[in-house]
Symmetry: C2
């Protein structure tokens, strides 16, 4: 099969490797129908050291079940399925508590080879969700967002406990930030301030429910949001992961409020002491989204067309064009690239 | 009147100064009946640079209203009252939301001169709570804990959302840690692991509801708690404020869990990235307790003797002996010193 590898910063190649095989009775093999490139993929694309051994890329996909191990009961060959970006048993203590990304099953983990023709899915019953559409449905882009970005944006809003009438600020106009806007709107937020400066993206953000767009960053952006909200937003969704985004979140959060992070932090230490969080009783939470837990919740509105999260895809490429897709997203010419097989 | 001043590390003096006067129509003057020394007072006691100008000390007191400004309606001369360690209008947006320590009233603030015979109380109606006992009640020590340490321990438990059947770890066997144990028990926690190594204190912790005591610190303490809980406690109450206590909290918190801090952080930067909080979806919250909000909630069980938070006082001194009280607490010979007038 053909699969995508990263050999170092800026060096993406599509190569031919052996087809994956069922290794455990709980595995399934899925033939990918749609995959995509994630903002998270850009971190190693920008910084990974050159290596003779490429690493396989991609963690978002939907496709058709090709075959299943003997213990797989929930899906069967021919089913169209979407996978969460993590694989888990969906039955352990943490899965039951809605923290699927902390599954204790020894085979649990995170996908890393989904930009490929075939994917081995460990713990298929805890990971795959059957989709009630055909493989040529026009809903595929929106359904693919359930694998990560929609569930991740939704996680940001859920962890911030967004509800009716809330004022919410979303930092970042990438796919996750935009779908955090959509999610906040779904959960009843009344005012949604999107911090981003790419017009095409913030326009989509407005379509998804943003009432305000603040293009300024840093101290200027903080002052603008504080001014518009009379002292900050009670719920801040941080969908970037870089340190300046965290600092911005601290600057715009209202006393007693919450900073919910879903952008994977590219820093380890940051201010959390008296001046930054403590004195104002700020809550900091978030983490890798348990998207498996959210698929059932989010699926109906995708199926009936109430929401269209698939609009975050603004370019479609073939597998061989994936290196271009990385380049385009890195240049910010592309918001999010869909890979059609 | 006589009042306590700190002139630098280790240098506490009791001096005579002018009596305070009503400055605003919302002020009250309270004659102190009981005050005390707080663990927080030990931070400047250990580190404040020497200064020619002493700073007045103390933020916990109960006493008798001596006189009131013309706008004070809730209390009057002769009333026995307890004050929250912060003063606030108790009507602004943040007070209504239960974040009284973020009150926006221009006169709001934190007491700093309660180890004295008289205290001027700004915003008296939002700050003082009338106590339905006499000034010689044996309940005074317990009632005094409502000014800070009991409400602060309770805040730790509330912010961690402690409820029936929970496993809770409390870091710190100071008065706040012990009353966090008491509060966790009140809120229904089933298992309470107290991390502390002062036997007299941890014994009181057991009396307050601790089911386990872990004396080890650092990596050893983390390993012990993780071992006893099968991977960590879902709710960690951090009642120290020093960086090692934070690191301990990160080490013992269970995936999806919460670290609730009420020890005033003596650090600004600390790890909050992928490895420490993000990967496991840990929530970090807490801050200065809105103790004013908790007094009404906590008062009944103090009055009827269900709880006895006043047991944290293991020494009683006169105002002139306050320098000894600081010394005793700094040496850890004294848990918490009560000042009787």
């Amino acid at each position: 099969m053909r699969a995508t590898f990263l050999y170092g910063a800026g060096d993406v190649r599509v190569e031919t490797i052996a087809d994956p095989a069922v290794q455990q009775p709980t595995d399934a093999i899925v033939r990918v129908v749609r995959a995509c490139v994630c903002g998270t993929d850009l971190h190693p694309y920008r910084s990974a050291p050159a290596s003779a051994h490429g690493r396989q890329m991609g963690h978002e996909f939907l496709g058709t079940v090709e075959r299943t191990g003997t213990d797989v009961a929930g899906v069967r060959a021919g089913d169209l399925v979407v996978a969460s970006f993590s694989y888990q048993d969906n039955t352990c203590e943490f899965c039951r508590a809605g923290v699927q990304t902390a599954c204790v099953h020894p085979q649990s983990g995170f996908f890393g080879g989904a930009q490929a023709e075939l994917v081995r899915v460990p713990l298929a019953d805890g990971t795959l969700v059957k989709l009630p559409v055909d493989a040529d449905s026009e809903l595929l882009p929106s359904l693919l967002t359930l694998a990560d970005v929609y569930g991740t944006g939704y996680h940001a809003a859920k962890r911030a406990n967004v509800g009716a009438g809330d004022t919410v600020a979303v930092i970042g106009d990438g796919a996750v930030g935009l779908l955090a806007v959509l999610s906040a709107r779904q959960l009843g937020a009344e005012r949604i301030i999107l911090m981003g400066r790419h017009r095409a993206r913030t326009d989509l953000g407005r379509e998804y429910g943003a009432t305000d767009v603040v293009a300024e960053r840093g101290e200027e952006g903080i002052a603008e949001v504080r001014d518009r909200t009379g002292g900050g937003a009670l719920k801040v969704l941080e969908a970037v992961g870089h340190r300046p985004a965290y600092d911005q979140a601290v600057g715009i959060v209202r006393p007693g409020g919450v900073i919910s992070r879903v952008g994977v932090p590219q820093y380890e230490e940051a201010p959390i002491g008296f001046a930054s969080l403590f004195a104002r009783n700020i809550t900091l939470n978030g983490g890798p989204a348990p998207v498996r837990a959210y698929i059932d919740r989010l699926l109906p509105a995708v199926l009936d067309g109430t929401v269209n999260p698939g609009k975050v895809f603004d370019r479609t490429v073939s597998l061989d064009e994936v290196p271009d897709a990385y380049r385009g997203m890195d240049d910010r010419a592309v918001l999010k690239a869909l890979i059609a097989f």
